[in-house]
């Protein structure tokens, strides 16, 4: 759900740029404080893996595909702040190098997929972990992170007058409820693999 140039008006994309720059500054500061030395290589691997996985679109239904966003995956491994940084790095490179997502809309894309997807997803995961266990909380948080990001995207499109709220919100939420199942399956598979080989890599 990388929003291209042209879908959002300046009145909508400019505030998201301000929020993205401010939020990333804060996330960098927090990451500097709490990231462990031994987690530094994991930042490189997580960024590389999530970029590669985002290229692997899987068919969903009716000629639509989806791909991993990776917000919850990054945050479960690296914590919410470094998770936000890693997803933002992926989005920035995709925008600048691969023309995936617009430059004007980069702030909104960082807000939707990094702040809501990784940070928001992490809070859902953390809240559910003590109640339903690790595997289920990872799966549910992954699903919710996609649906929440899609809802925010729909609201931004409606605020820009690109498509009416009552049309774009159900359409975006509906299809991403299906794409989110893929997100949950992939995230659970990767996290259970990490738990098997190196459980110490999970962020505590």
């Amino acid at each position: 759900m990388h929003i291209p140039d042209g879908f959002l008006t300046p009145q909508v994309f400019l505030p998201f740029w301000v929020v993205a720059v401010g939020g990333l500054g804060y996330a960098l500061k927090k990451t500097k404080q709490i990231l462990k030395e031994k987690a530094v290589p994991l930042m490189g691997v997580a960024a590389a893996f999530i970029f590669a996985a985002q290229m692997l679109n899987f068919p969903v239904i009716g000629g639509t595909s989806g791909h991993l966003l990776g917000g919850v995956l990054a945050a479960v491994l690296l914590g919410p702040y470094a998770g936000v940084i890693v997803i933002s790095l992926v989005l920035i490179v995709q925008c600048l190098v691969f023309q995936d997502g617009g430059l004007t809309t980069l702030g909104a894309n960082i807000f939707n997929m990094a702040f809501l997807g990784a940070m928001g997803g992490y809070f859902i995961y953390n809240f559910l972990k003590k109640r339903v266990g690790l595997a289920l909380s990872v799966g549910m948080a992954s699903w919710f992170s996609v649906v929440v990001a899609a809802s925010a995207c729909a609201i931004e499109l409606a605020l820009s007058g690109t498509s009416p709220f009552r049309i774009v919100l159900p359409a975006m939420v509906g299809i991403h409820m299906l794409i989110g199942i893929g997100e949950a399956i992939i995230t659970c598979l990767v996290i259970s693999f990490v738990l098997k080989v190196r459980p110490d890599l999970i962020y505590k």
């Binding site: 879908f7 691997v45 997580a46 996985a53 290229m55």
Partner: protein, 93 residues
């Protein structure tokens, strides 16, 4: 995370990018499909604000689209690994 684990992780990412990306579903993603169905896809057909060197994950000048996608995936995965690692070291130095 030790050196071996790092290399295994990077290798997995590179294998996905090189060997699976050419076979990814070509269908539009959720947002593109909604934009098509709800009639606003044309709004995105503007000249992009910046010109990207590898647009749409296809390395320019390679005839085989599958190979061009593999090369783009390989390069992108290395860029992300390098920038993630570099930023991590910069923050913790």
């Amino acid at each position: 995370m030790d050196k071996n684990m790092f290399l295994v992780g990077l290798l997995i990412a590179l294998l996905l990018a090189i060997f699976l990306s050419p076979f990814a579903s070509p269908w539009p993603d959720g947002l593109e499909k909604v934009a098509e169905n709800k009639g606003f896809i044309n709004l995105g057909e503007v000249q992009p604000v910046i010109t990207s060197p590898i647009p749409d994950y296809v390395w320019p000048g390679i005839k085989s689209e599958r190979l061009a996608t593999s090369v783009a995936g390989l390069v992108g995965t290395l860029i992300l690994c390098g920038s993630g690692l570099g930023l991590g070291y910069f923050l913790k130095k």
